[in-house]
Amino acid sequence: MIEIKNVSKWFGDFRVLENVSETIEKGQVVVICGPSGAGKSMLCKCLNGLEPFQEGDIVVDGISLADPSTDLIKLRQKMGMVFQRFELYPHMKILENITIAPIKVKKMSQADAEKKAFELLERVGIPEQAKKYPGNLSGGQQQRVAIARALAMEPEIMLFDEPTSALDPEMIKEVLDVMINLAKSGMTMVVVTHEMGFAREVADEIIFMEKGSIVERGTDVSFFKNPKSERTKEFLDKILLV
């Protein structure tokens, strides 16, 4: 479904991604972890064409992102994205946050879009918040709305960039639960996170990134008990303990 082939990206002389390769099958959940500045966010943004890359290629469903004639707008409709800081639209009510893209992009009728939005809000557990503004919701609720907003476009792939790292500890679980349900329903997911409990439960593959490249990969958390490099071991010890 997604094939990342030797992708490299520079900012001037600084290399943020270095020969990243990875294959993600339909229905798979891939967890990406690694220290700050490793290029995890950059990889996510490259995946749905928010950031260009200079070398290599990413092929989604047979569509090449390196090909300049590719319609990125169309491609992004296949992928939903959830951001660390939610990025809900503060000037719109929750319901509008979810319906605006289906109405404007998919030309769905307002009634259909709202019906769908309520279903999704039900699914993420907050149907009663539909008429409020994002600023009046807790972080955990906002992030669940962000997930509903992404799902409203019926994407085939969901990208999550540290969806719980801006949340208070007591709200992390409510968001992870939604994500776990999504994973179990067969969604293809790429998740940047350090929540190893989540990884243990649903990840098909876990990738460890450092300085722009993938330095370790494995199919479950136990793999990380024997990492190749000392640096990786140190980092993993830290996140696995907590």
Binding site: I73, R76, Y89
Partner: protein, 220 residues
């Protein structure tokens, strides 16, 4: 001249109000036209494409470096040339105001758009929006809301600027007073009267923008 005689205002009230109406019309045209053109130019100023960025930047720097009076004169002579026929002084003045004020509105718009985080744009893109849709539905509504006080302040300036249309013969508020004055020789009363009206309108507008600013400050 003797004592004050306010009868001159009373006698010429409909004529003076017609002048005020022209002033208001010019201001509305300058504000809405300048704002619309300013939005386009302000967005262009943020483009990563050089052929869009450079002309917009040149436009802004050029008109912001010229006196408005000169620009009004230019368009007074230029517009009939471009149109190939006389278009009237009101039309020429309107074009001059739209173009000139757009260069000021553009900078307000640019700053407003830059005040919205880059990730809002990325969020909009990630749901399949085009650049135009993301701007229209997500970025501009937020940016404009942040900019309301500055836009109101600039609108007060535009309102005052319209009096410069006097020089090319537009019968706006100031000119209609001077026409009456030429006939009735009542300068003090006439200019005091229009001064009060200008003051009331502009002062009300700036008070409104102050109040909005205070409200926004509290909301934060």
């Amino acid at each position: 001249m003797g004592t004050f005689d306010w009868k001159v205002i009373y006698d010429n009230f409909p004529f003076l109000m017609k002048g005020l109406l022209t002033t208001v019309e010019l201001a509305i045209i300058g504000i809405t036209g300048g704002l619309l053109l300013g939005i386009i130019v302000g967005m262009a100023r943020l483009s990563s494409k050089k052929i869009i960025y450079y002309p917009a930047t040149l436009f802004v720097n050029f008109f912001r470096s010229l006196p408005l009076l000169l620009v009004i004169f230019w368009f007074y002579f230029l517009v009939p040339l471009l149109a190939g026929r006389p278009m009237g002084d009101f039309f020429s003045a309107s074009v001059a105001f739209i173009v000139f004020e757009a260069s000021y509105f553009a900078e307000i718009i640019r700053a407003g758009i830059q005040s919205i985080s880059k990730e809002q744009m990325q969020a909009a893109y990630s749901t399949g929006f085009t650049y135009g849709q993301a701007m229209r539905y997500i970025i501009l509504p937020q940016a404009l809301r942040n900019m309301v006080p500055s836009l109101l302040t600039q609108s007060v300036v535009v309102f005052q600027d319209t009096s410069l249309a006097y020089v090319i013969g537009v019968r706006e508020f100031l000119r209609s007073a001077s026409i009456v004055d030429a006939r009735e020789m009542r300068s003090l009363e006439l200019y005091a009267f229009i001064g009060v009206i200008y003051f009331v309108i502009c002062y009300t507008m700036s008070k409104m923008s102050k109040r909005l600013e205070a409200k926004r400050g509290m909301a934060k």
